[in-house]
């Protein structure tokens, strides 16, 4: 059986639908990981000891165990204690929290690297520490970590394939289903790879645009 890419157009709609799911899950998880990452970073740096502890545990779980296991835990495990999440939501939460932990590390470093004079200038105007963090320090820290966070988000896109195991019909699972029908793994996996690559390029393009836009305000 030779290669025959001519069967792809017939199933393109399925693959494109899979693409949409992949994009949806990636964007949702990326946003979650960004904002939760900031939140985790602030907790890690400024919360009282007691409040930090549960977050330490979350961090340890999400950094120290496989993402696959985390997804199983959220999707299949939580059902047992009465939390029955749709697969898409479970996937977004799993991916989002997993990468939030990584983003938090980056943001913490960036917050500490913001010039001390910034906090001082804000406090001198009469802002509280919380206000100064929110309006002055964190926005600058976030600007500084856009490039490494962008890299994390591309890793997130690739890892989004893992949510196929809990049944989200994203790109990888869609390709697998078509393979089941047509017995043409090479063609469909290659097509999926090409589509991932295109999404990847678009994400890099967005990242460059954001970087260029904020260059002036750094």
């Amino acid at each position: 059986m030779g290669l025959d890419f001519s069967i792809l157009p017939k199933y393109m709609d399925v693959l494109l639908l899979g693409c949409l799911w992949t994009i949806g899950i990636t964007v949702a998880a990326a946003l979650l990981s960004f904002f939760v990452g900031i939140f985790f970073a602030v907790i890690a740096l400024y919360a009282p000891w007691l409040i930090k502890q549960p977050f330490r545990l979350i961090e340890w779980v999400f950094m120290g165990t496989p993402l696959l296991l985390q997804l199983f835990l959220i999707y299949f495990g939580l059902v047992q204690i009465g939390i029955d999440l749709p697969a898409f939501v479970a996937g977004v939460i799993g991916l989002g929290l997993h990468f939030a932990v990584y983003n938090s590390e980056l943001i913490q470093t960036a917050i500490l690297a913001v010039d001390k004079g910034q906090m001082e200038a804000a406090r001198t105007l009469g802002l509280s520490r919380g206000q100064a963090l929110r309006k002055v320090v964190i926005p600058q820290a976030v600007r500084d970590v856009i490039p490494p966070i962008g890299n994390n988000m591309i890793a997130l896109l690739k890892d989004s394939a893992l949510v196929s195991v809990i049944g989200v019909s994203e790109l990888t699972l869609s390709a697998q289903r078509m393979i089941g029908k047509t017995y043409r793994p090479f063609e469909f996996y290659l097509a999926a790879a090409a589509l991932y690559y295109i999404i990847n390029l678009s994400m890099e393009w967005v990242q460059r645009k954001i970087e260029r836009r904020i260059a002036i305000s750094r």
């Binding site: 004079g117 910034q118 001198t124 105007l125 009469g126 802002l127 002055v136 600058q140 305000s217 750094r218």
Partner: protein, 256 residues
């Protein structure tokens, strides 16, 4: 509460970092509308004294009073934070390195605190930004980011930002030391304009000419004490203390 004249009063200010005593029992009063210059070599404690006034570097001993209210009151943490934020709103501070917020335009730098702390509407805030930036001659740069401004322009925006809170007192910590020589004058002019409006100011400076033309009184600090203070004519032309004379001689030699 206090007599009108004692507008700023520092009583027996003492500050140590571990074993290092940086301020040694300094007392100082500044009247309303007065302009006081502080000179002295690097490391003599000028910044520490200035920053104690708005509690940026808290004293380890002594008291700071502003307009009849003690700044460094002994209060529980939360109450103290509220109190100190209110006090700081009344004291503008200008730093050597400007410390403008780089992610905000000149307009946003000026309006951020008034919007957050005084609840100004967008329209009021914009009017305020226009007024304050016009005052420092930078109205046409209102929507520029700090990265698009020269050092002198940055410092003028920083002054506008401080003035936008309508402070009672302005503190300047070597406001022109980081500037290229040709940019010093534009900032000095803004400060002179403030002086003409009788803003109360405490100015740490290395510029003896500027200090003698603007200040009502000049303090010479060395190793954490005020060695000598008096009107600029006396301090610069006819100082009584040997240490003052030595400092001025070295400083003038260095300036040449």
């Amino acid at each position: 509460m206090n007599e009108q004249t004692k507008f700023v009063e520092i009583r027996h200010a003492q500050k140590s970092y571990g074993d290092l005593e940086v301020l040694k029992d300094i007392s100082l009063t500044v009247d309303r509308g007065q302009i006081v210059g502080i000179i002295g070599s690097s490391g003599s404690g000028k910044s520490t004294l200035l920053r104690a006034i708005n509690d940026l570097d808290p004293l380890t001993g002594g008291e700071v009073w502003l307009d009849g209210v003690q700044v460094n009151k002994n209060l529980p943490y939360r109450k103290y934070e509220k109190h100190i934020n209110e006090m700081r709103q009344q004291v503008g501070m200008v730093f050597q390195h400007f410390n403008l917020f780089p992610h905000m335009t000149a307009r946003e730098n000026v309006t951020m605190a008034p919007i957050m702390l005084k609840g100004l509407s967008k329209a009021e805030a914009n009017k305020l930004a226009e007024e304050q930036l016009d005052e420092v001659g930078l109205l046409e740069r209102i929507d520029y980011y700090p990265s698009q401004l020269s050092g002198g322009q940055k410092q003028r925006v920083a002054i506008a930002r401080a003035l936008a809170m309508k402070p009672k007192l302005m503190l300047f910590d070597e406001a022109t030391s980081a500037l290229d020589p040709e940019l010093v004058e534009e900032v000095n002019l803004v400060m002179k304009k403030l002086a003409e409006k009788h803003m109360t100011m405490i100015i740490v400076t290395h510029e003896m000419d500027f200090a003698s033309s603007v200040c009502d009184r000049v303090l010479f600090m060395d190793q954490g004490v005020v060695v000598e203070e008096g009107p600029p004519e006396v301090i610069f032309k006819n100082p009584k203390q040997k240490r003052t004379r030595e400092f001025l001689r070295k400083h003038l030699a260095g300036a040449k």
